[in-house]
């Protein structure tokens, strides 16, 4: 193949690398009002009075808005397909504030200085209430985070607001308790994956204005333009037809930008003032007033028979969704959905979970989406089980993993269409040097090296919900325009989607213009999340390109006076099989658009997905632990990946390396922490450490391609699955090194040191 499978440079690569003005802030009008947010200093309080007169009277202040000025319609910031599973539990501004950082007032002024000065002049009085800070105490806590009558859900999600339960999830097949009794070995443990911050380099931002038709134009650094449009229509109570959302280049998202942030505030200011408005969250706000990964408690129990077949799995999850329920139900259920299918020799499986409200910053979508937390817990327990059974951890996986053509207990009969996970494990063993290195080697008087491993899966799109449309036109000049709603956030989907189109249309990629991420012109696409783009949007592009190809052949044949079966594509032309006649695309376009035909050729397709085929990874970590200090150095990380056909190897590799670095951060360094009054203690890069280039050791990626029959060119997803293996693999390696099993992430030197003292 000429395009698919090639490491083609990103079409926007040079522009973004060279700092061209292509991001939201670069595009904002210079006269845009600066929007700032006054935020709550209390974790849980009711605003009893708010005096804005001194702020409003300040010269240069355009408007100051409080809870009295916003529509009374609860909505969710979660950018999800309608009907959103997340509860409609927030107002743009509410009289009750539910975490330190919750919005109290919106200030718009001619410049930042004036806006900040105005903010200081707002006088607010609060009736402070007892906050719910510990998520393990949320159920049954005397304080109720969301007592309001008008909170609503689109469908039953197991919400019990009087108990602070946002959502509940239960799945059970077989008799788990009976099955455990029959098992030769049963192991059980409790895990605490932490809240993690996305820390995309470009913080949240949007700028808004009214166009010539009085419509609200929102230029937003978002992963979900269509969802933002629907969300704004509900929150602002204006028709969706009055809103256009445009996504320019964006500086990273990692799921964070699947949740709305400042769009609604800037949008409201523009509606109220009629003027362009710009909101940029600073780093502190991005840390403390957006979303993080859901912190969780997971209890996992595994039972196996004498030969090491895993027969029973029980998983109980408590998830901290913070002050609002963005993504609470879906992240919770994904904990099970993206882990339990790994092992299918089971006879009984039970998953039970609850997400709870607390008075902390909301959690939201984050690359991995529950699978990350679930993988940490399940895979750590599998490593424990292997030890009990005296089996090699790689062997127990090979014995238990689901294979192609098989089903799994909670999978409702869906058959696995592709997997090379067994080969990933074998290859990873070889690359890390498992045979020589497992479990540990002493390298000096105080240093030990050890290896650990884990496997993981994710989905590709959301089965029966995910959808994407694509349109490809043959333009009047013989070039093509690919219209897609897929949202490139640096990951390169504009490039890989045009690679796919070019492959089908047999034309060079330069002939294809990509236009994406604009709700006025793009065909519908939910956006870039749930590992959908390559698989779902790619599927739509392939279908649309095939349709266009058929039309080009048919139309050319008619013009050439032969049957459609007598012509074929040949470079930028169609020619007869006999080779005696041909018509260039440019000529064809001219004749169809301008000539007598008067029909521009367009291929259009909508792709739904009935299944969500899992990509797989086997991850292997080698660490060196200092036995005197507990310091852990990551020496080597090997990830062997089955993402089906690799559409663009370089871009896939970067996705993998980046996701693994985030996983390393989660394993060893990163943690969103709060103090005793619920104030975030980690609101800058000084307190919240993301891995620098010194902290990631060596990360090595290999691909073991499979062919997914339902995927475009056999492809599956890669974007999220890459985040999941480092926490369990690194934790396993540390245990193998010094015998410390640390189930509270991140595994800091102090924890390892204290753990060693207790041995």
């Amino acid at each position: 193949m000429e395009n698919v499978g090639q490491s083609i440079r990103k079409i926007d690569g040079m522009a973004i690398a060279m700092g061209k003005p292509v991001y939201t802030e670069d595009l904002a009008m210079p006269n845009a009002l600066v929007v700032k947010i006054l935020r709550s200093p209390h974790a849980f309080a009711k605003i009893t009075s708010i005096d804005i007169s001194k702020a409003e009277s300040l010269e240069g202040v355009q408007c100051v808005l409080t809870f009295k000025d916003v529509p009374n319609a609860r909505f969710t910031l979660a950018g999800q397909s309608y009907p959103e599973p997340s509860p409609y539990d927030r107002l743009i501004l509410d009289q009750i504030v539910r975490y330190i950082g919750d919005e109290v007032a919106i200030i718009a002024a001619v410049d930042e200085k004036t806006a900040l000065l105005a903010m200081k002049r707002i006088k607010v009085e609060y009736e402070v209430m007892e906050p719910v800070l510990d998520f393990e105490q949320a159920i049954g806590h005397p304080s109720v985070v969301h007592p309001e009558e008008d909170l609503s859900c689109n469908f039953e999600i197991g919400l019990q607001k009087e108990n602070n339960i946002t959502s509940s999830s239960h799945e059970e097949v077989g008799d788990v308790d009976e099955e455990f009794k029959r098992c030769a070995v049963v192991v059980e443990d409790v895990y605490y994956p932490q809240a993690q911050a996305h820390t995309m380099m470009e913080t949240y931002r949007a700028f808004t204005y009214l166009d010539h038709a009085g419509r609200l134009i929102v230029v937003s650094s978002t992963q979900v333009p269509f969802h933002i449009k629907r969300q704004l229509a509900r929150a602002l109570q204006i028709p969706a037809s009055k809103i256009r959302v445009i996504k320019p280049r964006i500086g990273g998202g990692f799921g964070g930008k699947q949740t709305g942030a400042g769009d609604v505030f800037a949008g409201l200011v523009t509606l109220k003032t009629g003027k362009p408005a710009m909101i940029i969250y600073d780093r502190k706000e991005t840390f403390s007033a957006t979303t993080s990964r859901h912190a969780m408690r997971l209890k996992v129990k595994l039972g196996a028979d004498q030969e090491g077949f895993i027969r029973a799995i029980d998983m109980q999850v408590l998830s901290d969704t913070g002050a609002y329920g963005e993504h609470a139900p879906t992240v919770l259920s994904c904990v099970g959905h993206y882990t339990l299918p790994l092992y299918n020799k089971t006879r009984a499986v039970r998953f039970d979970g609850k997400a709870v409200y607390t008075n902390k910053m909301p959690a939201g979508a984050f690359r991995g989406y529950g699978a990350t937390q679930g993988t940490f817990a399940l895979e750590s327990t599998v490593n424990r089980l292997a030890e009990q059974l005296k089996m090699d951890p790689t062997e127990i996986r090979l014995k238990n993993i689901s294979k192609v053509g098989e089903t799994f207990l909670t999978g409702q009969g869906v058959m696995l269409g592709s997997s090379t996970l067994d080969r990933c494990i074998a290859k990873g063993k070889e690359l890390i040097g498992w045979e020589e290195k497992f479990p540990r080697r002493v390298v000096s008087y105080n240093k030990v090296r050890a290896v650990g491993m884990a496997i993981t899966m994710q989905g590709s799109g959301i089965a029966n919900i995910g959808t994407a449309s694509a349109e490809i036109r043959l333009n009047d000049d013989g070039n093509f325009t690919l219209l897609t709603g897929a949202t490139d956030m640096g990951t390169g989907c504009d490039t890989i989607l045009s690679q796919m189109a070019a492959e089908i249309l047999e034309v060079p990629m330069e002939k294809i213009i990509v236009h994406a991420g604009d709700t006025d012109t793009s065909p519908y696409d939910p956006g870039s999340y749930a590992s959908s783009t390559t698989y779902v949007a790619g599927g739509a592009v392939v279908k649309a390109a095939e349709e266009l190809k058929m039309k080009i052949l048919a139309q050319s044949a008619a013009i050439l006076g032969v049957g459609p079966q007598d012509v074929e594509f040949d470079g930028l032309a169609v020619r007869t099989l006999s080779g005696d006649q041909e018509i260039s695309f440019a000529k064809l376009a001219e004749l169809t658009i301008l000539g007598t035909g008067k029909l521009q050729l367009v291929g259009y397709a909508t792709q739904g997905c009935e299944v969500s085929p899992p990509p797989y990874i086997a991850g292997f970590a080698e660490v060196e632990v200092d036995q005197e200090t507990g310091k852990v150095d990551l020496i080597d990380y090997v990830a062997v990946i089955d993402c089906g056909t690799v559409i663009n190897p370089n871009l896939a590799r970067i996705q993998a390396e980046g996701g693994i670095a985030q996983g390393i951060g989660m394993a060893l360094y990163e943690q969103v922490r709060y103090d005793e009054i619920g104030k975030m203690a980690t609101n800058s890069f000084m307190q919240y450490k993301i891995p620098s280039r010194k902290d990631v050791g060596k990360v090595r990626i290999a691909f073991e391609e499979s062919y997914e029959p339902t995927g475009p060119f056999g492809a599956k997803s890669i974007g999220e699955v890459v985040a999941n293996t480092p926490p369990p693999a690194i934790s396993h390696a540390i245990y193998n090194a010094v015998g410390v099993r640390e189930n509270h992430l991140p595994i800091t030197p102090e924890k390892v040191f204290l753990g060693m003292q207790k041995l």
Binding site: K10, G13, M200, G252, N650, Q655, S684, F685
Partner: protein
């Protein structure tokens, strides 16, 4: 206050406030390659050169730029492009938001270090954070650029 400085070989006179930082001044004059990603001098995205040395423009008052030579990536498109080509051939400009500052640091490193080892490269660039790429691709690009294995 008015300052006079050389920006990308052009002498300019700019009006700046006493408490204004250089990164903001540069952006407000259209040097939009200069990005900011923190308020704590931690990320390196705002890296530009002052008198040929790389520095964090978010942490220097604009007044301090008076009489200095400031260079942004817009100032030497050829050299920067040469490396950017290699970087993007690796796919190591994912979202690209960190790239201009990173490239400024890499070019400064090339001037300062002769035949750097991998450790020296990593050490020199530690202040340039990237959340997308995991740094491996950037390192591959640098090695190709410097012609070290």
């Amino acid at each position: 206050m008015q300052i006079e400085l050389t920006i990308n070989d052009k002498v300019v006179k700019w009006e700046v406030a006493n408490d204004e930082f250089l990164a903001d001044t540069l952006r407000s004059h259209g040097f939009l390659s200069v990005k900011k990603a923190c308020d704590t001098s931690c990320c390196g995205l705002c890296t530009v050169w002052m008198d040929g040395k790389s520095m964090l423009s978010c942490s220097v008052l604009s007044l301090r730029a008076h009489g200095k030579k400031i260079t942004t990536i817009e100032g030497f498109p050829k050299e920067a492009e040469e490396f950017a080509q290699i970087l993007s051939a690796e796919g190591a400009e994912q979202c690209g938001f960190c790239s201009p500052g990173f490239i400024m640091s890499v070019l400064a490193m090339k001037n300062e270090l002769v035949n750097p080892t991998e450790e020296e490269i990593i050490h020199y660039l530690t202040g340039n954070l990237c959340r997308c790429t995991g740094y491996m691709g950037q390192l591959r690009a640098i090695k190709i650029y410097l012609g070290v294995a």
